[in-house]
């Protein structure tokens, strides 16, 4: 690290759980963020600010005026721009140390597999079940840690899955794919800061996974109700008959 980096990250480096070694781990880390919307914005901004060295962002959408109430990586002059590119510009401006790879594409199929295999941690900031199940399947296949967050109305949920480690459940142990497709933010509404809360928790969990510190939300689902400010958690267990991870050996 050069002098500028030592100064930029000084408040993080002074934490005994991080120090210079930890900051170097963050600078060397590769994080894949799927979705550059309400959750992807705060998650990517905090991860870039914290000095995650390599961030890949996928989103196939363009910035719309109705996004700006919560998708804080995008600004009014960015309307009409690809969200991936708009995010890249915001992150580059925030922290030039970070190598941001932005792709305007819905991450799926073989590309999803390739990106998940390359990543140290995947942060799921997508907005639909189909993408969430596909990301989970790829993370289980490559045993890549997954930080999953979701937000709607005044509500948020966050969990961490480390397939193949610590007897971790996976997203498919929690949600089964036979349910009907859920309502989204466009039809149900979402209050701005709940996406910030959930996306920020996702960023923190991703950093803890990279650093190997603390206790992550593995085996727990955090449930946040912003309206009553009630925060609950439920204990999750690996489902031995889970169609995604059920056959995976325990290590």
């Amino acid at each position: 690290m050069n002098d500028n980096q030592l100064l930029r990250y000084s408040r993080q480096i002074m934490l005994p759980k991080i120090e210079v070694d930890g900051q170097q781990k963050l600078l060397a880390a590769k994080v894949l963020i799927v979705g550059a919307g309400g959750l992807g914005s705060p998650a990517s901004i905090y991860l870039a600010a914290a000095g995650i060295g390599n961030i890949t962002i996928y989103d196939d959408d363009v910035v719309d005026l109705s996004n700006l109430q919560r998708q804080i990586a995008h600004h009014t002059p960015d309307i009409g721009m690809d969200k991936a590119i708009s995010s890249q510009q915001t992150l580059n401006k925030l922290n030039p140390d970070v190598n941001v790879n932005a792709v305007k594409q819905r991450l799926a199929g073989e590309q999803l597999d390739v990106e998940v295999e390359k990543a140290d941690v995947v942060v799921d900031c997508s907005d639909n079940f189909a993408t969430r199940f596909a990301i989970n399947t790829a993370c289980v296949r490559h045993k890549t840690p997954l930080v999953s967050g979701a937000a709607i109305r005044f509500e948020g949920q966050v969990s961490v899955f480390t397939p193949g480690r610590d007897n971790s459940p996976c997203y498919n142990c929690l949600y089964q794919s036979d349910g009907e497709e859920l309502v989204n933010c466009a039809t149900n509404g979402v209050v701005a800061p709940i996406t910030g809360i959930v996306g920020s928790i996702q960023a923190l969990e991703a950093m803890k996974l990279i650093l190997g510190i603390g206790e992550t939300l593995v085996g727990k689902l955090l449930l946040i109700d912003g309206l009553s400010m009630e925060i609950n958690s439920m204990n999750l267990k690996k489902n031995p008959t889970c169609p995604s991870c059920g056959g995976m050996g325990v290590t």
Partner: protein
């Protein structure tokens, strides 16, 4: 048997109450608990359920003194 049933977030708003205390004569599943407590309301699908704060499925049996919590699923981003 006495079972405490709790509803969270938008489910609480939709039902207009946060909890019920059910007195049941026999051992019931989570699904039957919902039907007893909400005879007019179809069980939402998907839904998240915890029994005594542990993830549970709809066929899990609920014992005397258990707390059953229903949470709306969230996928938005």
């Amino acid at each position: 048997m006495s079972i405490k049933v709790r509803y969270f977030a938008s489910l609480k708003e939709d039902l207009g109450r946060s909890e019920d205390i059910l007195e049941t004569a026999s051992l019931l599943t989570v699904r039957q608990i919902w039907q007893c407590a909400n005879p007019q309301q179809t069980l939402p699908n998907p839904i998240l359920v915890a029994v005594n704060k542990d993830y549970a499925d709809l066929e899990s049996l609920v014992n005397d003194g258990d707390e059953v919590a229903f949470f709306p699923p969230v996928t938005g981003g």
